[in-house]
């Protein structure tokens, strides 16, 4: 293999595939990045066997020559060193040449690195996915959906299925649900497809986080292909494969309350700031818990007590409070996470009692909801 390649394009691609490379892996060759040159261009691959990312640099794009392939071929280079080298090379063009025993020379300007490469035939093959049954979704919407749900996945391995986000494709609609059993985030979106089949899969939270990092903010469509144990996200020059989690995701729809006893409408931003202030003292305490009390005339009191440190109370004027009066305690962190995810202006919070889950929704939008379980004080 012998190529001359635009350094910036290479650096960007390396950065993307590095998201899948883990320094700790049981398969040594996966600490490397695989580089393959064909007459169409250069493909970089990184993988930790859960996530695999493939980034393609075409020979030319928008009239600009990006790669000159002098000799096709393939090599695996140590990711850590390769990424650092590419970042720091002096010139706009990088030459990569693979000699016998995969000894690789990287040249740019007067700098020359000799790296010991590895045999690309030892690199595991990426899953072969037939590109049928494609769902399409705009990139920016996909990123929003991920941001609004993935924070709620469980970080504990006690119930591994909850470390993923449940994606249901049904009747042209995608429903994403994440819960760590203390709070739940749900987001629905219309999805473009000619595929009548429904799918119900669980994608590891970590995969979605990494995917979100390498997607740009355009509204170009992302193609999504679902198979029995893999999901593939495909953009113009990027393939992102993720393993799916085994097992059945718990049925959560019936756990979401449909009636309510107390409804509060508040400005999300003011409410978030009040919770943030109240949690200042609670953060040091055991559980970071704040208490919400409805007072008269639509006033809500937010308070928190840490016996050793002190207490804080703040009154907020809500848009409206309807129904029974209420005193409820909950984790300030869960509340702040939920409010940040909703990013609406006015939100409605519906309670069914101090020991029952409550719902947060944007006032005029039912495509998303956040659910939080309260804290019981003794």
């Amino acid at each position: 293999m012998k190529i001359a390649i635009d350094r910036e394009s290479l650096a960007k691609s390396v950065q993307d595939v590095m998201k899948a490379v883990s320094p700790r892996t049981t398969i040594p060759i996966l600490t490397g990045i695989k580089i393959t040159a064909t007459s169409q261009g250069v493909t970089l691959t990184g993988s930790d066997s859960d996530i695999s990312i493939e980034s393609f640099i075409p020979v030319e794009e928008e009239g600009k020559l990006l790669v000159e392939v002098k000799e096709t071929g393939s090599v695996v280079l140590q990711a850590r060193f390769f990424a650092e080298i590419v970042k720091k090379l002096p010139q706009q063009t990088v030459e990569i040449e693979v000699g016998p025993n995969f000894l690789t020379v990287i040249r740019s300007g007067k700098a020359e690195f000799n790296l010991n490469g590895l045999d690309p035939d030892e690199y595991p093959r990426l899953p072969q996915i037939e590109e049928e049954n494609i769902f399409k979704i705009p990139t920016d919407l996909l990123k929003t959906i991920i941001r609004q749900t993935v924070f709620a996945v469980s970080t504990s391995e006690t119930r591994p299925i909850l470390t993923g986000v449940n994606w249901k494709f049904e009747n042209g609609e995608l429903t994403c649900t994440a819960t760590d059993s203390h709070r739940l985030a749900l987001r629905k979106a219309k999805i473009e497809t000619e595929n009548p089949q429904s799918h119900n899969v669980v994608i590891p939270g970590k995969s979605l986080n990494e995917l979100s990092k390498i997607l740009d903010d355009s509204n170009d469509p992302v193609d999504i292909v679902v198979t029995a144990n893999q999901i593939l996200f495909k953009t113009k020059h990027l393939l992102f494969f993720s393993r799916l989690l085994d097992g059945n995701y718990p049925e959560t729809a019936r756990l979401i309350p449909t009636d309510s006893k107390t409804d509060i409408i508040v400005n999300a931003k003011e409410f978030l700031q009040a919770i943030d202030r109240a949690s200042l003292l609670a953060r040091e305490g055991r559980n970071n818990v704040v208490k919400l009390t409805t007072l008269n005339d639509g006033i809500i009191e937010i308070s928190s007590v840490s016996p050793e440190i002190g207490k804080v109370t703040e009154e907020i004027q809500s848009e409206s409070v309807e129904g029974e009066e209420l005193k409820i305690s909950f984790s300030a962190k869960y509340m702040m996470d939920a409010l940040k995810a909703l990013d609406g202006t006015d939100i409605k919070i519906s309670f069914t009692g101090a020991m029952r889950p409550f719902l947060l929704r944007p006032l005029h939008n039912d495509s998303m909801l956040q659910l939080i379980l309260p804290v019981r004080t003794y």
Binding site: H182, V312, G353, M355, L373, T377
Partner: protein
């Protein structure tokens, strides 16, 4: 003479650190001494609030605790803003209490920056006023922490007295001073009367402490429950609560261990022993009405090598079965199979059950929700008649 002195009753000091967080910061960095200093939540952000301010900030610039930081900065552009360092405050706090304990072991820390000290038996150290001066000077010189001290025959009056002169005040409040000094004050100034209680009292025409002292007991009880009666007593300068050194965080941990009659290598027998230990730890926790989130087990092998292993769970526990499950988990994980001669279980960092919380779980909350009506009723009864009026039947047997 000394006997006469004691017959008059108790002598209680309330020692209150002035602007504690700010004082700790200044003690650490004396160059701040002549500057306006506040401790505030995240100074980088606009939304931070003032958690503590030193007297220069308070007096010269009118800055108060809970004031938004941007407002404080507007009042004093040269304001020194520090992020809270709670570990420094805790460390300083424990040094202050250590100092006080050397005067009298009857010390009850009431919060991180204040405590009650019973010096009734300390006449050999000097008069109450001399002792207070010694404490004030001692804390200022050794720890650079200024305190105000109230001297009185009970905790309530001592607390009211220490509030009267800040910083570095020493105030004596005798019972016979109550009509002259306390009664003219607005009822809201009284320790134990918050905004809400004050508003309630206002509705029945009580605006001063004196009016509360003379109010009809029945009306107070109707309005505030048992607490109303207590407040009236306090307003009359009566408060017989003892200074209880164990009132705060008394039991750091509760544990039991047992030496086995012979060296054991069978897991089944070890588990039986753990079950019994869990039972006794649970009983002691219930008796003291505390819970814990951390279980520790101790294993001593026949060669006297001893290991302890602990794990913290998310929700606090108190029941024997839970403790046993956690201990058994630890044993299975850490026992190396060698013969064991002693086993122990301890609940670490126990805390008052009232401060305990349980994060409810989406898949199991129904069980808790069923008891909601019961909890509500219990809370209402407690508010009306006091903490001890009702307890769950199963817990009744745990009383001392």
């Amino acid at each position: 003479m000394q006997k006469m002195y004691r017959k008059q009753g108790r002598i209680i000091l309330h020692v209150d650190c002035n602007s504690f967080f700010a004082s700790c910061e200044i003690a650490r960095d004396p160059s701040l001494k002549e500057k306006a200093v506040v401790v505030a939540g995240d100074p980088k952000e606009r939304k931070g609030i003032v958690l503590a301010a030193n007297y220069i900030a308070k007096r010269r610039f009118g800055i108060y605790t809970t004031m938004p930081l941007w407002e404080a900065k507007k009042k004093c552009p040269s304001l020194v803003v520090l992020k809270p360092d709670f570990s420094l405050y805790r460390e300083t706090s424990s040094k202050v209490f250590q100092f006080l304990r050397r005067i009298s072991p009857l010390l009850e820390p009431a919060s991180i920056d204040e405590g009650y000290l019973d010096i009734t038996e300390c006449d050999s150290l000097g008069s109450p006023l001399e002792i207070a001066e010694y404490i004030q000077q001692g804390l200022l010189q050794t720890l650079h922490i200024p305190v105000s001290i109230g001297i009185a025959p009970n905790k309530f009056l001592a607390k009211m007295a220490s509030e009267m002169k800040k910083p570095l005040g020493i105030t004596v409040l005798r019972k016979r001073d109550v009509p002259n000094i306390l009664w003219p004050l607005p009822v809201k100034e009284m320790h134990g009367v918050g905004d809400k209680t004050a508003k309630k009292l206002n509705t029945i025409g009580i605006f001063t402490i004196g009016e509360l002292a003379k109010a009809e007991e029945e009306r107070l009880q109707q309005l505030l429950g048992i607490n109303g009666i207590r407040l009236k007593e306090r307003a009359n300068g009566i408060d017989d609560r003892p200074v209880d050194p164990e009132a705060g965080e008394k039991w750091k941990s509760i544990g039991n261990s047992t030496t086995l009659p012979y060296n054991v290598t069978e897991e089944r027998i070890l588990l039986d022993v753990l079950r019994e230990l869990a039972q006794s730890v649970s009983e002691r926790m219930k008796r003291k009405r505390v819970v814990s989130s951390t279980v520790q087990i101790m294993i001593r092998y026949s060669n006297f090598q001893t290991i302890t292993r602990s794990k913290t769970w998310e929700n606090p526990f108190q029941e024997a079965e839970e403790i046993f499950q956690y201990a058994a988990y630890l044993l299975k994980k850490h026992w190396n199979g060698n013969p064991v001669r002693l086993l122990g279980i301890a609940a670490l960092d126990v805390f008052d059950k009232k401060a305990a919380m349980k994060q409810l779980d989406l898949f199991h909350y129904e069980e808790e929700a069923k008891r909601e009506a019961l909890w509500k009723t219990m809370e209402q009864l407690r508010q009306k008649f006091g903490e001890d009026i009702i307890r769950r039947g199963a817990n009744l047997f745990q009383q001392d």
